[in-house]
């Protein structure tokens, strides 16, 4: 971390790789370049889009899955739990490839399925409006199993007596969920929120494999931008300033979530 910080104040580039002596301290120049780079603002916006839409969506899917699997009436619980968790253990690059074909405008399974219910073919990865939602869908599918297990652990730690007491007081299923389940899951929400957010800020493999940041830079993310600047063009100093921004965003996001939690706690 300190290394990245120091690096971001230098002009470390391809010449420095040949000889470290070619590195100079350039002060805030990298940050100035960053602020005036249109690509950076696009990458920032795309990353925030992914974090703000994908994160809560993923958490919601995980919570629903956890509640369904945890329901008392359900049989074969371990089977469903494993089926939902399976995508999480797979290799992201391989899954990005699979989904690239699923999203194929002409031969893809998704459009074939949507065609059955009368929705016209969508060029998922070729349309700047749909490319990011497509990546979000892939990563929700890939990752919801993890948070589902976290929510399951939270649900199972809620004492049964609370539900019985609420039922005695005449609370229906929805009110029991609203006034017993949700408040008792408070700490779990913080954990899921922070972990999911940190992971979302780091999105890289999906756009690298599926879209290379396109079309029209609509899936260029901060880490992809950092990778290209640093390891394709070897501007490591400039790239480090992106890394520092990424770190600050993660830090602020984490602190905000912790603060929100403290305020909403009873």
């Amino acid at each position: 971390m300190l290394g990245a910080f120091v690096l971001s104040f230098t002009d470390f580039d391809i010449y420095s790789i040949a000889n470290l002596g070619n590195t100079r301290v350039v002060g805030l120049k990298n940050y100035h370049d960053l602020a005036t780079s249109p690509q950076f603002w696009i990458a920032l916006r795309n990353t925030l889009y992914f974090v703000v839409v994908g994160g809560p969506l993923s958490a919601a899917v995980s919570l629903i899955a956890a509640i369904l699997v945890n329901a008392k009436l359900v049989r074969f619980k371990p089977f469903f739990r494993s089926a939902f968790f399976a995508p999480w253990v797979t290799t992201l690059v391989a899954m990005a490839l699979v989904w690239r074909y699923i999203y194929h405008p002409q031969y893809g399974l998704l459009n074939a399925a949507l065609g059955v219910v009368g929705i016209g073919p969508v060029d998922w990865l070729g349309n700047p409006h749909w490319a990011m939602p497509a990546l979000i869908l892939l990563s929700v599918w890939k990752n919801f199993g993890y948070n589902m297990l976290v929510f399951l652990a939270g649900l199972q730690s809620i004492p049964e007596e609370l539900y019985e007491a609420a039922a005695l007081d005449g609370a229906g299923a929805w009110r029991r969920f609203r006034h017993v389940t949700l408040p008792m899951l408070g700490p779990t929400f913080v954990f899921v929120g922070v972990v999911t957010m940190i992971a979302s800020f780091q999105i890289f493999s999906e756009p690298y494999v599926m879209t290379q940041g396109g079309p029209l830079k609509s899936t260029l993310t901060l880490v992809l931008f950092m990778y290209e600047e640093g390891f394709r063009w070897w501007r490591l100093g400039f790239s480090a300033s992106i890394a520092v921004v990424l770190f600050l965003l993660t830090l602020v996001g984490t602190l905000v979530q912790l603060r929100l939690q403290r305020h909403s706690a009873p």
Binding site: L92, L97, Y107, S157, V223
Partner: protein, 273 residues
Amino acid sequence: MKARGRTIGLHALLVVGAILAASPLLWMVSASLMHSGEANTSPPPLLPHSPTLVHYRALFTSLNLGRYFLNSLIIATGGTVMAVLITGMAGYAFAKLRFRGRQSVFRALLAGMVIPGQVAMLPMFILLREMGLINTLFGAMIPVLAPIYGIFLVRQYALSIPDDLLDAARLDGASEFRVFRSIVLPSLGPVLATLGVFTFLSAWNDFMWPLIVLSDDARYNLPVALANLAGEHVQDVELMMAGAVVTVVPVFIAFLFLQRYYIQGIMAGSVKG
């Protein structure tokens, strides 16, 4: 009657969910067994007309996938063994050994948990370059070697080892290394097993760091090789799906046999953490 309807509805939802979750994986396997060009027909076929293994043969003969498979296996296995030893020692030291600055070092480590891994990649790359570790399989293992959450997990677990047991062994003249090997390691068994499966999984699936560190084609791990192949063989759906299957199968088999550890690890870690 009402409960019965609800049970059926609940199971219907779960079955639909399970199908949605599993279908990309099932389609991957199915497409990998199709003949070239078969998947690119409309409407897309769900099952191969006459299953064939020709793509798997091509992967392991002309495309050298065996080499990448071996690289992945070395990176994941070597990384796991070292990570288990390092986190075991570090977690034990933070729990049981008294040394100056223990608390402050531990607190600094915990604070480091919020730093995204990618942030460290740039300085790490320069450091490894100076050490001559770029383009080595060992270099590709670096990110998994000392996971902070792992050290934290082991420390929590190690706190429960009775001090008397350790002191008794020391009185009997056992060296610190002996104490670690014969008392600490065995009692940390379960937590280290959980840690091991997670480390193996993340080392096997790691993509960005190997992509940066491994520049020589012969040293690629499976994900990097696969992404590279996808660039050249974009149209060969069936071939790429066979490659995806080969990449996923080892971790998937590991998951089927060791899912107890995955599930316990996640559920325990989140409640305590």
